[in-house]
Assembly symmetry: C2
Homo-oligomer: 349 residues x 2
């Protein structure tokens, strides 16, 4: 008897906020079976699904670094999965692999479309494949190492600092000897950034005197700004930029759901302060993944990088609400949906 | 008997537009004489004064790449001058030199604060020291060569294309084999860009169907955008940027007089298209001036670069109105004030 496979598909494009129950639909199809896989393929079940700020952009019908998700198509997303059957030399039954399964329980992945666990040196837990050793940690590494290039004694500011990428980015800057200021959306996050992660300063952008505090915290101005949020905070950081500052343009979560996104009115500072403002997408840097994962693993084992995951139980059904909450800043660290607990018995398909 | 020295000094900081007669004052002092110069100094009379979009920014009391002009201080500006007396080995009486005299008729310049004509290989006319071989041409060279780096077959867009810097920047891109699209503010300028300077396309941004024409003119999107204007056109170019485009942030003339400058609402494209947006100030690149002037001179002699100056007669008195008109796009090519015609008899001080 065929096992049901739950997928979450795009029902209609949101204009502003994602509306659970309206933006996405649940879809049930028969799960693929071990009989369906061809040479070079694996049959997998998803354990954790990654929720990422970039996902809102994938729903817009505009030219971008990936094609928009189509109406009726399974929502795009990366999962860490368990291999249930394999015709690939890269993975055997019971292995963990990471791939763009989309928001679905069961999938067939072809070689090249998944990463075997051998790509993750020092892997301790399957969920690390999505967080510190996955897209999140790699994004932090690429942005900070290849664009920000912080030097000892420089001032580095990270917004969205308690988020999955920001928290790693700030710690990488610390490892490079910089003075690191994190910006986050509540006091607990700020406490965590300073007390657990070792940021020098953390500021709550919802505080009434946030801008004054920020000015006080940047007496020598900013050498590197790692931007995850855009909007007002980008503007403020432009105003505090030092000559030849590097602005690592990683995300703009404050604007993703806006129907009228605001640009930085301070953009003229790019000229007067000779700022290099550079956007990047981690997928362009695949050739660096090996080196990045090695460094990140090393830093984790040395206790120089600490990580946190915020795990939503409840399966794929909770993914859409989780994504909505992500834009409200609900999470500290990497936001994951537990599709299936790794300790449960593997499915039989 | 002392000769009068007319200077134009800052009377009050403008909040929006410069207001002739209010923003600046005329000031008469006794001219310096040959008795006033010390070893390493020259006494000069100004012939041409450079008017530049950047000047508006120098009037604002904000942190920038140069200190703001102070109230009561002579307005900052570069002139090409004739040497009337010299105690410097770098220049003899009758030589042309270029320096930041400010808006004044007569000045004493110290070595290091002026550039002797020997720094300008292939110099034909004194006014070239302010235009194609001066700050203007150097700005175009630095921005296009060191940041834009256009390659053969790439699409380059230049805004403010009929201005002093834009017109040279576009021609440098042509020399590099790029397809060059210029944006300017009237049909005569567009005609000049295509017919005289060899731009592939020139578009009048005041045309009702400008945005559609622009889209048609950039079917393969934009590899390099040389921005002199900011505002709407920057936004539009972000929307048409190709992956890994380089945005050379040179000026933002559309916003300089605005009390509410607008940022690019499209800034998220910096991320999705992995754009490098880099500001620069030509003064940071003094070590490249020699090479740049040699190349520019060579290109002029080969007919690959053509230049135009828009000269305002009438002496320093017309400088403030000239500056106001500059922001309205009155000029084609380099805007200069003729302080004194080089063919007139040298002053005796």
């Amino acid at each position: 008897m065929a096992v049901n496979n739950l997928s979450i598909v795009l029902a209609e494009r949101p204009t502003g906020d994602i509306i659970p129950g309206t933006t996405f639909n649940q879809k049930i199809t028969p799960a693929p079976t071990s009989a369906d896989i061809k040479d070079g393929e694996v049959l997998v079940e998803a354990l954790y699904l990654s929720l990422d700020p970039a996902m809102r952009g994938w729903l817009n019908d505009v030219r971008s670094y990936v094609p928009p998700v189509q109406i009726g198509e399974t929502m795009r997303g990366a999962s860490v999965c368990r291999v249930l059957a394999s015709k690939s030399k890269q993975a055997t039954v019971g292995d963990y692999v990471c791939g763009f399964t989309g928001w679905t329980q069961y999938a067939v992945l072809r070689e090249g479309a998944f990463e075997p666990s051998s790509n993750y040196p020092g892997l301790r837990e399957p969920k690390d494949m999505l967080s510190v050793l996955g897209m999140t940690g790699l994004t932090a590494w690429v942005g900070m190492t290849k664009i920000g290039e912080p030097k000892a004694g420089e001032t580095v500011v990270v917004s969205g600092a308690a988020g999955a990428t920001g928290s790693i980015a700030g710690q990488i800057a610390k490892i490079n000897g910089a003075r690191v200021i994190g910006i986050a959306g509540n006091d607990e996050k700020c406490k965590w950034l300073v007390e657990e992660l070792g940021f020098d300063v953390a500021l709550n952008y919802k505080d009434a005197d946030f801008k004054e505090k920020f000015k006080e915290a940047t007496p020598k101005y900013i050498d590197v700004y790692f931007d995850n949020v855009g909007g007002d905070i980008l503007n403020m950081c432009l105003a505090r930029a030092k000559e030849h500052a590097r602005f690592v343009m990683c995300g703009g979560i404050s604007q993703y759901n806006s129907t009228n996104p605001e640009g930085p009115s301070n953009i003229s500072r790019v000229i007067t302060m000779r700022i290099k403002m550079q956007g990047f997408i981690v997928f362009d840097h695949i050739k660096d993944y090996g080196k990045a994962r090695q460094e990140l693993s090393q830093w984790i084992s040395e206790g120089k990088i600490k990580k946190t995951e915020h795990i939503l139980p409840g399966g794929l059904q909770v993914a859409e609400q989780g994504l909505v909450d992500l834009y409200k800043g609900s999470n500290t660290g990497k936001l994951l949906v537990e599709v299936k607990n790794p300790n449960e018995t593997p499915s039989k398909l």
